[in-house]
């Protein structure tokens, strides 16, 4: 089962490599990882999507928390939360039928066409992983996919809960 972890850590050189190194060193999986500085530039926030049974996740959380640079870690997937992933899909749309189909599908999925040439459309879409996968399955039927880039998921707890130093 996918687990989403949110980590607040010191924005120091090498602090990201400690997180990534820990995951490979202890044979934990990373499905996706996003990182950026927070409002407070001395801190970074990481969202990691991983998987494993209850024991594994407990061990991951403890091991991450043990890193000296880490201030907080929270498992968001077990709580009320919002998660989103951003995706760009570059599609080959040579016929007008194909182009119309792409516009329609993009519309249904509430995406936007953010770049186009005579033959290519680039679609921007955000949502949960499953929604992005569904979009890919739909457009695949009508046009060739040239390239896909996905951001990996970011997530935040619902309500008053916040990950703060």
């Amino acid at each position: 089962m996918q687990t989403i972890l949110s980590i607040l850590l010191e924005n120091e050189p090498g602090s990201l490599s400690r997180i990534i190194g820990l995951f490979s060193q202890r044979a934990f999986n990373i499905e996706s990882l996003t990182v950026a500085a927070t409002e407070d530039k001395s801190l970074s926030r990481i969202t990691i999507a991983t998987n494993g049974d209850h024991e594994k996740i407990e061990q991951i959380i403890k091991q991450v928390n043990k890193l000296v640079d880490v201030l907080r870690i929270s498992e968001l997937s077990g709580k009320a939360h919002i998660e989103r992933e951003l995706m760009f899909v570059k599609l080959n749309a040579q016929t007008s039928d194909a182009r119309e189909e792409i516009v329609r599908t993009t519309d249904i999925f509430r995406g936007q066409i953010v770049d186009c040439t005579n033959q290519l459309y680039t679609v921007q879409l955000s949502g949960k992983k499953e929604k992005l996968n569904a979009f890919i399955r739909s457009v695949k039927r009508q046009s060739d996919i040239i390239e896909i880039v996905r951001s990996g998921c970011v997530a935040i707890a619902r309500g008053a809960t916040a990950l703060k130093p």
Partner: protein
């Protein structure tokens, strides 16, 4: 008061001095020459020049293990730093505080594959508690102070401080500022056990009919050994030690049942396997203890006390986890019993001890010494008598290490210095040197094997330079004994590369280094000759004891079995 202005290099030395460092173990090279020049111009911090950087790390490590100080290593960039990796990993696996100062090429050269450049932070990342790179000279004292704080507090461990050469420039001086207190917002280890967990643990222990105390190295690093004895006596429970925990309770204490695990005693492993409540104190359910985890102590409720939450339920699920420092938690447990006036089932307790004494009567450490050759066990027993059981003992890794752990009952904590977690051959000799530096008046013995000793033998030269009259007892069986034992037991006796052809004449070798060498091969003269060697107080004596070639270490757990499935001798099933 005028503000002290120092160069980066001088700040390194000043900071070490301010932190109370007396000895630094190291080796000079291009990127740290400025620090060496600063060392030359003072006399407070003594530098010990090794012959290989790995030995510097083991010396510093053992210096830490045998004292309450923090061992410090100083090496140059590139090969100087990478030669430290084995020693850092050794300290990391056994949670030993150590600070490694590694030189680095100048900041503007980093990433250019400059001469002797290595990404030391990257290389050491998986085997350090934390690491720092100094990006400005002014940062140096604070970073070194932080490194010391991290190395020693919480679960101890090695910390690397990387020092780019441009920040050490002797011609650029800056205000020297050493913080009086270190606070890190992201680091705050839990010291005190949660009262709810203390209550659960204290209650479960008092209600236990067959309790066992399983104490590891964490008890020693928390300086909680006196409390452990008080706790054990209050509970009247048997105490078993991990390899790292030996000495936390005197080896002669009536409640001590010996080491547990792969080569643990029959009574220790049997007690564990039949316990109804086990309290693990600063131990980590290592695979060399548990044997098959699926079969591990299935009837026991497990209380796990450790300062590192990630150790709890990592290998074996804890029923009652307690996060905290062992000394504080033991006090809390003792206080709880006192306040609540809990008492135990004394009838069950006597039955338990009756059972344990039956197991003890198997006398699992007996061996046949009538073969005309010297048995390794015999050497350790003789050594115990010759040293009155009081010497600091360091060991390398292999059969001799297990024989020492089993046949030399340690009387106090920090007396037994060995590489438990990583199992580093070549640890013993430099470790003995580090201990001798810290305790010049005490007897320090390195017990080694003919394989291990050759992995850092160049340090005999350092011993001469610094006049370190340690004693080296070599259990020479002409084989990689532990490898051979496994090949005998698991590989139908196919001895693939486990024997040492072309062993040097050790006596001549140590004489070449300026020390004294002795050969012992007659069992009837063993103790007398050992005594004579130990009478040479101010000399390093290398005692080459020719021991029985085919001896195995027993007891030994059966592969994939439960903790108490053991062989008690060659083909002797329990």
């Amino acid at each position: 008061m005028t503000q002290l202005k120092l160069s980066g290099a001088a700040m390194v030395v000043q900071a070490l001095n301010d932190l109370g460092v007396k000895h630094v173990f190291g080796y000079p090279g291009g990127s740290v020459l400025d620090i060496y020049d600063a060392l030359f111009q003072q006399s407070e911090v003594q530098h010990v020049l090794v012959r290989h950087e790995q030995a510097a790390t083991h010396m510093a490590d053992a210096y830490s293990r045998s004292t309450d100080q923090i061992g410090v290593v100083l090496v140059t960039s590139g090969p100087g730093a990478t030669n430290c990796i084995t020693g850092i990993a050794t300290a990391y696996m056994d949670s030993i505080p150590m600070v490694i100062l590694s030189g680095q090429v100048a900041t503007h050269l980093i990433g250019d594959d400059a001469f002797q450049e290595t990404d030391m932070l990257g290389c050491s990342r998986p085997i350090v508690k934390h690491s720092y790179s100094c990006r400005a000279a002014e940062e140096i004292p604070t970073i070194i102070a932080k490194a010391f704080h991290l190395a020693k507090s919480g679960r101890p461990g090695p910390v690397v401080v990387d020092l780019p050469k441009d920040n050490l420039n002797p011609n650029a001086t800056f205000d020297y500022f050493m913080p009086s207190e270190i606070k890190l917002r992201s680091y705050n280890p839990t010291i005190k056990g949660h009262p709810k967990q203390i209550k659960k643990a204290a209650t479960a222990l008092m209600a236990a009919k067959r309790p066992v105390i399983y104490a590891g190295g964490g008890v020693i690093s928390a300086n909680a050994c006196d409390l452990l004895v008080a706790f054990a006596e209050k509970l009247n429970a048997p105490v078993t030690n991990t390899l790292m925990g030996l000495g936390s309770i005197p080896g002669t204490h009536p409640q001590f049942v010996g080491m547990l695990g792969m080569h643990g005693t029959y009574e220790a492993n049997k007690s564990m396997g039949n316990a109804d409540v086990i309290i693990a104190l600063g131990a980590r359910f290592d695979d060399r203890v548990t044997n098959n985890t699926d079969k591990f102590c299935t009837g026991a409720e497990i209380i796990h006390v450790d300062i590192d939450p990630s150790t709890i339920s990592k290998n074996i699920r804890a029923d009652i986890p307690v996060v905290g420092s062992i000394d504080i938690v033991l006090k809390q447990l003792l206080d709880f019993w006192q306040q609540e006036q809990l008492s135990q089932d004394s009838e069950a307790n006597s039955l338990w001890w009756a059972q344990i004494s039956e197991w003890r009567n198997r006398n699992c450490l007996k061996y046949d010494n009538s073969t005309g050759t010297i048995k390794p066990q015999q050497v350790i027993e003789a050594l115990y008598r010759v040293t009155d059981g009081q010497a600091y003992i360091t060991s390398d890794v292999g059969q001799h290490q297990m024989f020492t752990a089993l046949y030399y009952p340690f009387s106090r904590p920090k007396q037994w210095i060995n590489s438990g977690g990583l199992g580093t051959m070549g640890f013993g000799l430099p470790a003995a040197m580090g201990v001798k530096m810290a305790h010049p008046e005490s007897e320090v013995v390195c017990i080694s094997g003919d394989g291990s000793i050759q992995m850092n033998i160049q340090e005999l030269s350092t011993c001469m330079q610094y006049d370190l009259p340690i004693k080296i007892v070599l259990l020479n069986n002409g084989n990689l004994g532990m490898v051979k034992q496994w090949q005998d037991m698991i590989y139908d006796g196919r001895h693939s590369h486990s024997y040492m052809q072309s062993l040097p004449d050790f006596v001549k070798l140590v004489e070449a280094y300026g020390h004294v060498g002795v050969n012992i091969s007659d069992p009837s003269k063993l103790e007398q000759e050992l005594t004579q060697a130990f009478e040479l107080k101010d000399k390093l004596v290398f005692i080459n004891v020719i021991v029985e070639e085919h001896e195995h270490v027993y007891p030994m757990q059966k592969r994939l079995g439960a903790i108490d499935d053991m062989w008690l001798g060659k083909g002797v099933d329990q």
